[in-house]
Symmetry: C3
């Protein structure tokens, strides 16, 4: 059930990464690289930290195809990609939720503590975007703006709370993903962001 | 014996990382991430290069607690952290020494040549700070200023020289850590730095 | 046959990396680090993605020596390194070809699909330079300028086409490396670069 959503999220993440690459005036190879690392970078960091090798996308050609589709979409659409901004935001939220749960599942398979499972889930969701920003010499957006990683953290802990109360795994997975999507969309709508320390 | 000092160094590195995050106006999540990678990033790079998986902090909850303590201290103190600058510099030097020796020990367990053991020790000490600077879009401090990595290199080679002369391992470990601390403190006091090539 | 060329390419990559470090006014340690990651960074990323551990240069002291020679050459020559710019460009192209084929061979040993083998070849060739640019807070050159990665991609696919037509492996290897070198030199001579999306 998660697999098609995972590929969909991969494609959407590739679109947003490739679009930043186009804005940064990278050439076609650069746009492809940035789209690629945005889409699979988070899962790659997770796999490397867990010691899963080779990393997941080297074992399944479909991720590569999903990335290529996303990069082509960004290249063909160019600035017009902004016209589907609402669709992209919603899809990105779906990807965020799915990536988080997949990261948690892989960490559970490695017998990690719940707090580290949530951390691996968040890593799967946000590390790709961090590498994207660094490659584009931008300050990593996720560290300073908006409720983004926070949505993943909330959804991740919700998943473990539901497991603790013996909810069926399928129900817990779906609920957690929905929690992440809803928090993310509310935070976009209301322009929410995490507090910062003042007078620093 | 090294373990409590290792946790102490982890906490101090997290303080300095989190404080840079606060200065860079990151949100609470960003400050946590930067504190975390500063504290455990060096050991993580070492573990990945050596092929130790999962990485060390996923197997021991205490590192996580040490990081959280350091990040909270930085968030609560804010600018006032500068009032304990001398304490932080001294503690950072202790962390530097301990991290270097731990990196060397892990590399010895992997049967590496002494020069690579020293390199893994230096990596454990300085790679976290390099990732911190890159995440904060700063030029990595360790590459251009002060005697920092050099202290680790000197202490690392001193350790192998003492081993060569059959000094008891405990004595060699303590001496090497002290050498690193002393070089580091002298270089801070005298504002020393490595030479650069002129007219480049 | 590839091994001496591999060490030669490692040395040349270290020269170019170290020279950028000198220009960026890094200290001697910084120049060494940047030279090192430029030379072995690509193969390191490849080994980590494939799960080869420890990474290749920890198992063979000759890579370390090659890097040291390159870094020393850059430090001694300084700006005069530009007088051998043509030699460096040609040697860099040789390194590019050899690194690509070595990456492909290692990926073939891991039973990857041809497209991923080419990707690992390109990663071996260009990831080191990307890390170099990020450490020097430069925008990664390979993502936006010149025919660089493209030469590796073309040579990589040429290798698989020749294998498909049952060419002897040695002949295919040599031809692919020559293709990469020739494309690279022509692109330097004619100042070619990949197209970018306009009006983005």
């Amino acid at each position: 059930m998660l697999y098609p959503l995972d590929l969909f999220g991969t494609c959407i993440f590739a679109v947003t990464g490739a679009f930043l690459g186009v804005q940064k005036k990278l050439d076609i190879f650069g746009v492809l690289v940035v789209g690629f690392v945005t889409a699979v970078g988070g899962g790659t960091v997770r796999d490397v930290l867990l010691g899963h090798s080779p990393v997941f996308w080297l074992k399944d050609f479909n991720y590569f195809i999903a990335v290529i589709c996303g990069v082509l979409a960004a290249l063909i659409l160019g600035r017009r990609v902004l016209r589907i901004k609402l669709f992209l935001s919603l899809s990105d939220a779906v990807g965020l939720g799915v990536f988080t749960i997949i990261g948690i599942k892989k960490a559970l398979d490695a017998d990690l503590l719940p707090v580290f499972c949530v951390m691996m889930g968040v890593t799967t969701s946000v590390a790709g975007g961090m590498i994207r920003d660094i490659l584009c010499t931008e300050s990593p957006m996720v560290l300073s703006r908006e409720i983004y990683a926070t949505a993943c953290i909330a959804g991740g802990f919700a998943y473990f709370i539901m497991r603790f109360f013996s909810l069926a795994d399928n129900a817990a997975v779906i609920s957690s993903i929905l929690i992440i999507i809803i928090i993310r969309i509310i935070s976009i709508k209301m322009n929410l962001s995490l507090p910062k320390r003042k007078n620093a």
